[in-house]
Amino acid sequence: MKYYKFGDKNGRYIGSNDKYDVYENTIASRIAENNEKIKKEPYEMYFNYGPSAGGLRESVNFNIVTPGETIRDITVNSYYKRRRIKIINDDIDTALLKVERINGFHSASNTVCFLLAVEDALNIDNHNSNNKRIIEIELERIRSNLDVIKGLCESAGFSVPEKQLLYLMEKVTRIISDTFNHRYFFSANYINNVYGNFDSIKLDDIYKEFNEIYNGLLESKIFMDRIQENGIVKDANSTGPAARASGYKYDARIDSKSLVYNNYNIFAMEDGDTFSRFMVRSNEIFSSIEIINNNLNKINNNKNDVKIENKSGEGAARIESPQGDIFYYANIENNKIKELSIISPSYLNIELFKKAIKNNNILTDFFFVWNSFGIWISELEVDFI
């Protein structure tokens, strides 16, 4: 492993899974938490929501403790859709098909991070592919951020901007489809290769149309009232847009060596509320378009040769997915997966959501706060067997 080693805590906390706690530069053994069940006072009640209900895109259950209006405590039960994916002893090509489907909406981030870990394990030079990988991850970030802002508009009952953002999401999806032959980047990524026709990427319309919606939302007093000063959380153990919205300038595009971005300026806010997360997500749409345009000039469309000399090894990689740091550890033996581990940004984002929702919020704030974190259960609840 070039950029990681097993050891004690070193650097900022990235997240955990059943086996590991991962920090900026090290992988440590997991320290189990003591999860106490929340208890209600006599004047309070449990409000149970999910796992399947209108308004929830994925299956997840919330157990809210409330005296009637405020939210005093919450547990998030994400285990309902836990998938057991048979991947150990698969060859890399077959494993790749499964990794693409860990979180299909963020397939590019998952696949690129997995391949970077594999390339680290097998000592494969990948510098010719990384500009293309940056382009696909930033395209994915644009679609993901549009989705989060659409969710906020939906929560506020703002149907017109909600539908306009859904329209823009589909436009971005069609650009992805025209470029990579698939609307979710499936089968576009291989070891040291990205297959796609990058000439079809034109984002000027997306920039212009999103700018109109963004300015319209900023001018709307009703929308601002609904998202300002709710869901406040400031925590050193945070990740992605939620961290940058609360003054922590964490970004794997700057502090990870796995996929290097040049000259990227972090946009950050200080207040840590839903509005700050909206501002970070919005401004990162503009910066992603700029990154893509800059990288389009640097790519060549040649297919790269892949020379695999080592067939065994262990590797790790961390990149900035749309929701925050995503980390993969891969141990490969004779070209087969011996061990695979993922740290999803949704792990930390759920912890942040729980802190944010308990911080002086009422039941009607729930969807604003939940949607502002852009959490995906699919990449959190997965067992590799």
Binding site: S52, G104, F105, L166, E170, T173, S220
Partner: protein
Amino acid sequence: MMWFLKGIKKRIKTENLNDKYKIKYPSVLEGKSDYNCPTGAIENNKWVKEKCIFCEKCDLKPTYKQDMYNINNNIPDIFKKSFYLYPIDSGTCGACNTEFNTIFSPQYDINRFKIFLSNTPRHADALVIMGVYTENMDKVIENAYDAMPEPKLLIGLGACSVSGGIIGEKISKKFDIEILGCPPSPYTIINAILKARGNVK
């Protein structure tokens, strides 16, 4: 008022279903291949569409046709009037969920065909099940199905629910409508539902 005017200014964005933009994968595949498919989607050199995840590794060629579905039972005429769907996620990767939401976007606007979302299975005509079988969601799906009024339909959306795809096991229920693809495109979803309701021949 401001957003109403902003919406009007954009004019109609809904597309005619005949003016499809080209989707290469997933689309109907043709030809023959002897590839050893990891999902078993090639049997005796022929394509088994229910099992295909469109990984582009075999010799089958895409046709760009977006009508990959099976209608397994007669669909009652009552659903021609209006049709309410209740989606339920058994064990998805998120791509099927997103494509299902996309059919409500201005480009596709499935509401124009009198097809709507229901917030509860008690008001739904069809349960749309996405993703592979998961133990914890099995009971939830059963409860949702029991809560629906008669007549009711079961729709399987995506290769995972219909065949297990490459991730896991299929849903154990028999579907009235199977919508195929990994994930099915919005065109495939709309075509399947319209065909099943008898809106198109």
